[in-house]
């Protein structure tokens, strides 16, 4: 079971709801994925674009919790404000702290994320910060009460996969809280790889929303995550050949 704060989840796949062509596809993808946690963003209400409004369709989903993100915030203060608005609107204690000042590469601001996470954790939120794959930052966020850390696999929407794998392994090694890869995944095989490697869950958005058949891709990602977990439990075979030196190193041990 994946445990975030005091809430347990059977599914280790978390879905983002952005970039879908329409709400109906998004809802169908969520259902196909079996996810129990989805992210949403806050935007100004626009009476002329009611189709953007997700609240009604999301409310109909059974067993799916909402995790508002703070996307759009440029600094910690704005992110805290966004989180409070999100909690007020959703009634959910979950928040994904996401602060990316540069609108091109969308890389997360480590310093502002730390400041926001610290304040929100103290205010009772279940905080999941989206961060560069930095092992020191991850421990600092754990220390201030985050429920998990979410290191990026690669830049949002890049589809570059687990480019930060070695860093993520270091984070996993010393973390006492779940490690969730968020951003950059393109294929279900990469989600499987992340779980095999030791991640507790993955968060996927672009790879599903921008697939040719998002609903089928959502299902495929769910299978990928389950496969990765089953493989990890089964114990993968050894990787390397055991190289033996030409002159024995241990001849001094008689």
């Amino acid at each position: 079971m994946l445990k975030l704060g005091n809430v347990e989840f059977k599914s280790r796949l978390i879905l983002g709801t952005g970039k879908f062509s329409d709400t109906a596809t998004m809802i169908a993808a969520i259902e196909a994925s079996g996810t129990e946690l989805v992210t949403v963003a806050l935007r100004r209400f626009n009476r002329d674009k009611p189709s953007d409004d997700l609240c009604a369709p999301l409310a109909k989903l059974k067993g799916v919790k909402l995790m508002p993100n703070t996307s759009g915030a440029m600094n910690a203060k704005e992110a805290v404000r966004a989180a409070q608005l999100g909690r007020e609107l959703s009634g959910s204690p979950f928040v994904k702290v996401e602060i990316h000042p540069n609108p091109h590469h969308l890389m997360p601001d480590a310093i502002e994320t730390y400041l926001a996470a610290k304040e929100l954790a103290a205010d009772g939120f279940i905080v999941l910060p989206y961060i560069p794959a930095d092992p020191v930052l991850a421990k600092k966020l754990e220390d201030v009460g985050c429920a998990a850390v979410m290191p990026l696999g690669a830049a949002i929407g890049s589809g570059s996969g687990l480019s930060t794998a070695e860093m993520i392994k270091l984070i996993i090694r010393d973390s006492n809280i779940p490690v969730i890869v968020d951003a950059g995944l393109r294929a279900p095989s990469e989600a499987a790889r992340a779980i095999e490697m030791g991640c507790d869950a993955v968060l996927v958005n672009s790879a599903i929303a921008a697939a040719k058949d998002p609903v089928a891709m959502a299902k495929a990602f769910a299978l990928g995550v389950k496969t990765g977990y089953a493989a990890r439990q089964a114990g993968l075979m050894p990787k390397s050949d055991i190289a033996v030196a030409t002159s024995p190193l241990t001849s001094f041990l008689k």
Partner: protein
């Protein structure tokens, strides 16, 4: 009274409560969060919270996001 709502100047013709404003805008209260002059106003206060002429209001809802 005149209010700035989501960046647009509008004239509010109701009784000046948040509830009245949302009804005027056609926003569903359960799907809306609101700030007045930068401060979050909790929904439990909407029936009584009085807006003032010149207030800046953000009316927010959830949309898709990663």
């Amino acid at each position: 009274m005149f209010l700035t709502v989501n960046g647009n100047k509008i004239e509010h013709l109701g009784d000046g409560t948040v509830s009245a404003l949302l009804a005027e805008l056609g926003a569903t209260p359960e799907h809306t969060a609101l700030t007045v002059n930068g401060d979050l106003v909790f929904s439990k206060h909407w029936k009584i919270f009085k807006l003032n002429d010149g207030d800046t209001i953000e009316v927010l809802t959830f949309v898709g996001g990663g």
